[in-house]
Structures are given as C-alpha cells and as structure tokens.
Amino acid sequence: MKAKNFAISLTALFTALTVLGAFIRIPLPLVPITLQTLMVWLAGYFLGYFYGAVSQVLYLAIGLIGFPVFAQGGGPAYVLQPTFGYLLGFPLSAAIIGWMMHGAKREMPLSEIIADLRAAGSARILVAGGLGMIAVFLPGVLYLYFAGNHFAGLQFSFQKALWTGMLVFLPGDLLKLFAILALIRMVTRRFDGAA
C-alpha cells in the first residue's frame, strides 16, 4: 500500500474526527468541555507534524467555506466569532505534537506510527500534549483580546481575556491531557495484536 494514499485517507478521517469532537460535549458546572482539542492532539500524535497540521487546516477550510462543522456553525463570517483564535491554534497544536512524536517524518505506514508512539516515554507524550495545549490557548486568548478590542471596539483588558479565555478551561484541559496518555497507551497495546 502506498504510504501517500494512506496518509491522505487518515488525514481526511482525522479532519472528520475533529468535526465530531466539536459536538461531543461533557457538561460541567462552569464551562462545558468538548472533545475537540482531544481530537486535534490525536491528529498530531498519529499523523506527524505535516499531515497533522494539514488535517486541521482542512478543518478550518471546510468550516470557512460554509459547512457547519464549527461548534456554532460555519461560513466566512465565523472569523468574527471571538473564539475563532482557538481554531487558528489547531494546526499549530497538531504540528507541534506531531513533531515531538515523529520528528521530520511525513508519510508513515501504520507500523511506524505505532512504533514511534510506543517508543515515546510518558513524559514526552505529556510534554507534547502540554505544548499542544498552549498552542491552542495562545492564539485563542490573543484573538479574544483582539476581537474584543477591534471588531467590537471595546476596551477589554488583557487580564479579562486571559481569565475568560483560558483559566476557566484549564482544569478540563489538564484532565484531557492525562486522558491522552491513557488513550495512547491503550491504542498502541490494541494495535499490537492487530497490526
């Protein structure tokens, strides 16, 4: 099987998983968490830096041209949503994680993906996920700040953007980070029998 065709298919399917992630919600007292960032990170872990980023760019492109794949719909006007910055962080996040797991590799056969993931220590998996998390928050908070001040023309302090844009999400995301570790361990174990 050509590695390229496999990469194309898997990338497209991770785009679809990212869409699904936006609609799986875990209701929590303050802010509900979605499984979306989990899918973004998994795209990085499984696809490597290049196709990981591609899968997320595709997600943004599909949403911006009008498929209702974002949490609140789609279409070009979505760039006005104050939360659009988080979406901008997705490709970056997947790329960072992919780079930490697979280095500069692009097309990989399944066996190589699994081998890299199995070889990675827990610390590396967690650090990669943590960096991937920051890569979503950073553009997210900056955009929130920018959108508040520019599109809406408000005087919106940076502390406020930081609080509403990041600190309230932090507990849920930290939990997801540890869920990722368990997930990756389980998936690699399961592929041992099958791959």
């Binding site: 099987m1 496999f6 298919s9 399917l13 998983l17 609609f23 599109f151 023309g153 939990l175 869920a179």
Partner: protein, 260 residues
C-alpha cells in the same frame, strides 16, 4: 447533522461563477475593514441593496443565515454604548450630550460594519453550494502548484473528509450505545466523565485507522495517483458578468479610499 445550505434557487447571482463571487466578497471585506469610514459603509450598503434585489433570495433565507450572528451584532452595540470611552472622559458620563453622540456614532459604525460583512457572507453562502465553493477554491489556488503546494491533494482530502463526517459520527454513536450496553457509565462526577471518554475514543480511533487503510487500498485498486492530471465533470465559466462584478468591487474600493 451535516448538509450544506440546501435549496439554492436559480437566480442571476447563483448562476455566477463561484470564483467571481468569492473574490467579490474578499474585496468587499477588505474594503470594509481596512481604513473604512462612513462613506465606504454607505456605498457598500447600496451595493448590498442592489445585490439583494437581484438575487431573488427571500429575506427570510438571509435572516436564517445571519441568525447565528445577530447576537453578536446586538452585543457589540450594547457593549459599545456601555463601555466605549474617549480617553479624556470617564465612561459613565452618559448625560453629557457630546459624549452620548460620540458613543452612538461609534457604536452605530461598528455595528453597521459588522452587519454588512455578515450580509455579504450570507449572500455568498445562500447563493453558492459548499461544493461549488470548494471547486472555486481549488481552481483559484491552482497557480500555487508551481510553488509545489499540493492543491489537488488538499482538495481530495477535503472531499474525503466531508464525505466521511456523517459516517464517522454515526460510528461514534454506535460505539457510544455499544459501550452503554456493556455497562459503561457516562454520567457521574467530573473524573468519571473524563474517564468515560476512553472506552469511546479507543474503538473510534481503531475504526478510523482501519477505515483509512481500506480507503487507501481502494484508491490503489482504482489506480489513483495524486500526481496524474485529472479532468473534472463540472466546468466553471468566467463571462462578462463575472468581470463586471469584480470591477464594481474594485471600483467601489478605489473610489472610496482616497476620501480620507
């Protein structure tokens, strides 16, 4: 869960080449957001009125498209009125007539601009199917092939992704129900809920990888080669109407900008 805006009616606008419509909206957006003043807004509003009249698209449809953003418009206006301040004055001096006028003017400006932008993208979305837009994007980005950007592969992946969104979400539902039947608990405390995602995600990932392998095999069996030159069933035709609307957009931009 997923279907593009359906029932796009035949009209002058829906028959235009999607590339032209896309470029028009991009020019309009840039013109509205970069160094724009009241004159830009008014001229673009005039163009919008003409476009709406020509489009044959019922106002109702527009409102449905814009519904998700109405709260944004209202919120922007309210917040501006409450918190906008001139640097030299405290924001609460509402009774000051000058101050009130200043606030009203700025709030109206920002809100109106937001409205116009949303209007133009709603016009694009309700007169063009996402498939047509994707097609248009692929053609517009074709010159990037010279720079080794894999335009065709990207378009291919986008269409696979869109095709598989319903399949993947159906699979997710099935797995969820199967795990429920096996006694998985998706309710309970925070930790329990996060833990419950594991029996959901692991089989989903497994199924996804399997499906990707099958797809890759199917592509191979059909002799798919991303490097090959491919032909397309749908043809885009650029005529004088397309050139005209693009010229209108550029003319509006050029005429309004030097006024500041």
């Amino acid at each position: 869960m997923l279907s593009g805006p359906s029932g796009i009616e035949d009209s002058l606008i829906s028959k235009l080449d999607p590339r032209a419509k896309l470029l028009f909206v991009i020019v309009a957006t840039l013109s509205l957001f970069v160094g724009a003043g009241w004159i830009d807004l008014l001229v673009w509003a005039g163009v919008a009125a003409v476009a709406q009249a020509v489009s044959d698209i019922p106002v109702r449809r527009f409102l449905a498209q814009m519904r998700g953003f109405l709260w944004l418009i209202v919120l922007a206006f309210v917040l501006q009125m409450l918190f906008l301040a001139r640097p030299d004055e405290p924001f609460w001096r509402l009774w000051d007539f000058d101050m009130l006028m200043f606030k009203l003017e700025r709030a109206a400006f920002f809100t109106f601009r937001l409205f116009l932008f949303i209007f133009y993208s709603a016009l694009l979305m309700s007169s063009t199917s996402p498939i047509e837009l994707a097609d248009a994007l692929e053609r517009l980005f074709k010159p990037l092939k010279r720079l080794k950007v894999p335009v065709h592969e990207i378009a291919m992946m986008a269409s696979i992704a869109v095709r598989f969104i319903p399949t993947v979400s159906e699979e997710g539902q099935k797995i969820y129900k199967a795990q429920l039947a096996r006694g998985a608990r998706f309710q309970g405390g925070l930790l329990q809920r996060v833990r419950a995602t594991v029996p959901l995600i692991v089989p989903l990932l497994f199924a996804t990888v399997r499906r990707a392998e099958e797809l890759a095999l199917a592509m191979e069996a059909r002799g798919y080669n991303s490097r090959a030159r491919r032909t397309s069933y749908s043809q885009l035709i650029w005529g004088w109407r397309e050139t005209l609307i693009l010229l209108v957009a550029l003319a509006v931009t050029v005429i309004t900008k030097p006024m500041y």
